[in-house]
Amino acid sequence: MPVDAGVPSLGKDLIGLETLSAAQIQFILDTAEPFKEVSERAIKKVPALRGKTIVNLFFEASTRTRISFEFAEKRLSADTVNVATQGSSVSKGETLVDTARNLEAMRIDMVVIRHGASGAAQFLGDRIESNVINAGDGKHEHPTQALLDMLTLRDKFGRIAGLKVAVCGDILHSRVARSNIWGLIKLGAEVGVCGPPSLLPRGIEELGVTVLPRIEDAIAWADALNVLRLQLERMQAGFIPSLREYNRVFGVTRDRLSRAPKDLVILHPGPMNRGVEIDSDVADGEHSVILPQVTNGVAVRMAVLYLLAGGTGAAAAAARGEAA
C-alpha cells in the first residue's frame, strides 16, 4: 500500500494554509484528483468514512459551502449533522467553548466550522479532540476555498508555479484572499492584489504580493483573476462610496477583458454580485472557470476530510508490513 512517507502528516485539524508546507498543499491537491472521479460515477459514494460522524457547525449563514461539505461528507459515506445557529442553544448565549465540549461529549469525529470570529477554528481545535476543519473563520482563512481555487488553476494551466494570479476586490475583509495568498505563494505562483486602497490591509506587501493599483493593471499583468465578492456592508461602512462606482472603476467587465494581452482565466468564490465586481457576460463567458470551481470544491473537501480522518500513527506503522 503506497504511503507517501515524505509528506508530514496534516495533524489533527485544517485551520489554514499559512501553517502548511508546499508539500502538504501539493499532497492535498493530488489526493483530490481521484475524488473528482468519484463524483462522476453513477453511484457517487465510497465507503471510506463510513461510520464517522461529522458535524457542520455553521455560525454564519452559508448555503454553498455547507452544501459542498455535505456532499463531500455523504459521498465518503459519513453521517452528517448540520447545526445552524438560528434557534440553537448558541443563539441563546452558549459559548463556543461549551458548544465544543457538548459536541465532543457526543463522540463526534469531525467538526466543520464556519464562524464570524477570526481564530474561532483554532480556538475550537485547541479544545476538542475531534478533527476540526475551518470552513471560514472571520477574516482569517478559508483554506478549502483556496485549495479548490488552486486545483482549478492547475487543471487549466497544468501548474501553479510561475503563474500570475491577481486577487481582486475587498482584500481587507477577505479570508479567501488570505488563504489564496498563502497557498499560491507557497506553490510558487506570483500573487497580485487589486482593489481600492481603503480595502487593502496594512502590510500586505510584506506577505510577498504585488499591489496593482487599478483593475486594468491587474488584467494586463495576470494569467488569472480571482474576483472577490464585494459586500454591501462595505459601502455602508464608508469604505467605498457606492457599488455602482465600484463597478465603474474596479469591475471586471467584458470591455476591460477584451484588452487583456492574454486569455485570462476568471475565478470567483461565489456568490457573485453580478454587475458589481463582475459582469454577467464575464461570469458566464468562456474565460470563466466558476462552475469547475464548484465541482472541484466537492473533490477538495473530500480529500481534506479523507486525509484528516485517516488513521493513527501506531496502527499505521503496524499495518505497513501487511500485504493484500
Binding site: 459559548t95 481564530g119 474561532a120 480556538f123 472571520g138 477574516k139 496594512r202 502590510g203 500586505i204
Partner: protein, 429 residues
C-alpha cells in the same frame, strides 16, 4: 509606637539624588532617620537589608479595582494586597466601576474600603463626566473633597474636544490633572489589536497608531490652550512619544505614563489568538517599544503605570474579538521593568525608581516617593537581582489574566511598608 529599622541596604532616594548604603528608621508612620549606624530603638522590628535595595514605596497611578460592581474579579482589599506584593505602597484607582465613581459617596467608599484593608494606599480617581457618558461634567469639587486625586473617564476617551477643554479648565481650580485614555473612536471602533502585519495575517480588525496619536495631539493642544494639566494614560506609540516630547519642550503641562507591557511586548504576542495579549491600547511594533523605552529614559514618559485590569478566566476564554481588553500587572510590573529596562542598561535603577515612585508622587501631588526625614513611612525593600518565575496561581490578585505566566522576571519586592506597617513580607506565608 513600633519602630522598624531597615538595616544595611543600598538606599536609593531619587527625590534627593542619593544612592548609598545606609540604615532607615521608621516610626509613628514617618521616616525618622536615614544614615549609617542608626541604632535600633527598644522593641524595633529589624529588617536586614544587606544586599538589597531600599527605595520609596512604588506608586502606580493607574489601576482598575473592580469594586464596586465586579468584586469577584478584584476588590479594593485584594487589589491593595496585590499592590503591596508588587512593591507598591500606593495606587490610584480608576473610576470605571459599576456604578461609576462619579460622586462623593462613591469616592468616600473607595477610601474607606482601602482604610479597612490596611494594605497599600488606594487613592480614588473620579470620573470626568457623570457615568463616564461624556455628556456632563462630574462635580470635581465634591470628588476632590472626598479624596479623589485626579479625574478620568478611562476605559473610554473624553471624546468631545469641548468637554475635554472644559474639564481641563475646571480641573485647574482644584489643581488636579485630567487623565485621558487617548483613542479616536471612529478610527478604533471594532479593532482588536494593533493595525499592522500581524492583524493582517490573523484577519483581525486593527487599531491604527493614529487613533492614539490624534487624541494625544488634541489633548496637548488643549492643555496649552487652557493651561491645565493633562495626563496621558498608557502611551503606546512612537508618534505619541514624539508629540509629548515636543509638547514638553514648549512648556505645556503634559505628563504621560506607559505600562510595562508596552515596553516589553509587541503585537507578535497575539499570534495564536492569545487573549492575554489583548488590551487597549494594543501591543504595538518593536519600533514603538523602543520609543517608549527611550521616552522613559529621557523623561518624556514620566512614569510607569500598570493599568492593572482584572478579568475572569471565562471572559478571556473566548474568541479573540469577543474577549475583554486588559491584563493584570501589579505583581509583575517591577520584575518586568528591571528585566527589560535596567538589565539591558536603558535605565539605571535610581532612574527606574524615579519613574515608579518619586515622579509619580510629584505629578499627581501625592505624599510619598521620597525617603526624606519626616516623609510618610512608605518604603520598599527589594532584591533587584532576584530571578524568579511567574506563577499566576500564587498571585494576591483575585484574577489571573497575565501574559507573563511562566516567564522569568528579574527583581522582586521583599518587604513593602505602608504608613510604617509592613503591608507585604515575602517571607510570610
Amino acid at each position: 509606637m513600633t519602630h522598624i529599622l531597615i538595616r544595611g541596604g543600598r538606599v536609593i532616594d531619587p527625590s534627593r539624588g542619593t544612592d548609598g548604603v545606609a540604615d532607615v528608621l521608621l516610626g509613628d508612620g514617618r521616616i525618622l532617620a536615614v544614615g549609617r549606624g542608626v541604632a535600633a530603638p527598644e522593641g524595633a522590628l529589624v529588617i536586614e537589608a544587606a544586599g538589597k535595595v531600599v527605595a520609596p514605596g512604588l506608586i502606580d497611578l493607574h489601576v482598575h479595582l473592580r469594586e464596586p460592581g465586579q468584586e469577584d474579579l478584584e476588590t479594593v482589599a485584594s487589589g491593595a494586597m496585590a499592590a503591596a506584593a508588587g512593591g507598591f505602597s500606593a495606587v490610584c484607582a480608576m473610576p470605571n466601576t459599576d456604578p461609576v465613581t462619579d460622586n462623593q459617596a462613591a469616592v468616600g467608599f473607595i477610601v474607606s474600603q482601602a482604610q479597612r484593608a490596611g494594605k497599600a494606599r488606594v487613592y480614588p480617581i473620579g470620573a470626568v463626566t457623570l457615568g463616564q457618558r461624556g455628556e456632563q461634567l462630574a462635580e470635581f469639587g465634591e470628588l476632590v473633597g472626598a479624596g479623589a486625586v485626579a479625574v478620568s473617564d478611562d476605559g473610554k476617551p473624553v471624546g468631545s474636544s469641548h468637554m475635554m477643554r472644559t474639564a481641563l479648565e475646571y480641573a485647574r481650580t482644584f489643581g488636579i490633572p485630567v487623565a485621558n485614555h487617548c483613542e479616536e473612536m471612529s478610527l478604533a471602533l471594532g479593532g482588536a489589536m494593533h493595525e499592522g502585519l500581524i492583524s493582517t495575517r490573523l484577519g483581525l480588525k486593527g487599531i491604527p497608531a493614529a487613533a492614539e496619536e490624534i487624541m494625544v495631539a488634541r489633548d496637548i493642544i488643549l492643555a496649552e490652550l487652557t493651561g491645565g494639566h493633562v495626563h496621558l494614560c498608557h502611551m503606546s506609540t512612537r508618534g505619541s512619544v514624539e508629540l509629548i516630547r515636543r509638547g514638553k519642550e514648549r512648556g505645556i503641562r503634559v505628563t504621560a505614563e506607559a505600562t510595562p507591557h508596552h515596553f516589553s511586548l509587541t503585537h507578535d504576542r497575539c499570534a495564536g489568538y492569545d487573549t492575554n495579549a489583548k488590551m487597549n491600547p494594543p501591543l504595538r511594533e518593536s519600533k514603538d517599544v523602543d520609543a517608549i523605552r527611550q521616552g522613559l529614559k529621557d523623561g518624556t514618559i514620566d512614569v510607569i503605570a500598570s493599568d492593572h485590569a482584572p478579568h475572569h478566566y471565562d471572559a478571556k476564554e473566548r474568541e479573540f474579538d469577543l474577549a475583554p481588553n486588559g491584563i493584570i500587572g501589579l505583581e509583575t510590573a517591577l520584575g518586568v521593568a528591571i528585566r527589560d529596562l535596567v538589565e539591558p542598561g536603558i535605565l539605571t535603577l535610581p532612574e527606574l525608581i524615579d519613574r515608579m515612585s518619586t515622579r509619580a508622587a510629584r505629578i499627581f501631588n501625592l505624599p510619598g516617593g521620597t525617603l526624606a526625614v519626616g516623609a510618610p513611612a512608605d518604603v520598599l525593600v527589594l532584591d533587584p537581582t532576584e530571578r524568579w518565575v511567574v506563577r499566576p496561581e500564587t498571585f494576591r490578585s483575585k484574577s489571573r489574566n497575565t501574559p507573563y505566566g511562566g516567564a522569568e522576571l528579574v527583581g522582586r519586592a521583599h518587604q513593602t511598608v505602608v504608613r510604617g506597617r509592613i503591608a507585604f513580607d515575602i517571607s510570610a506565608p
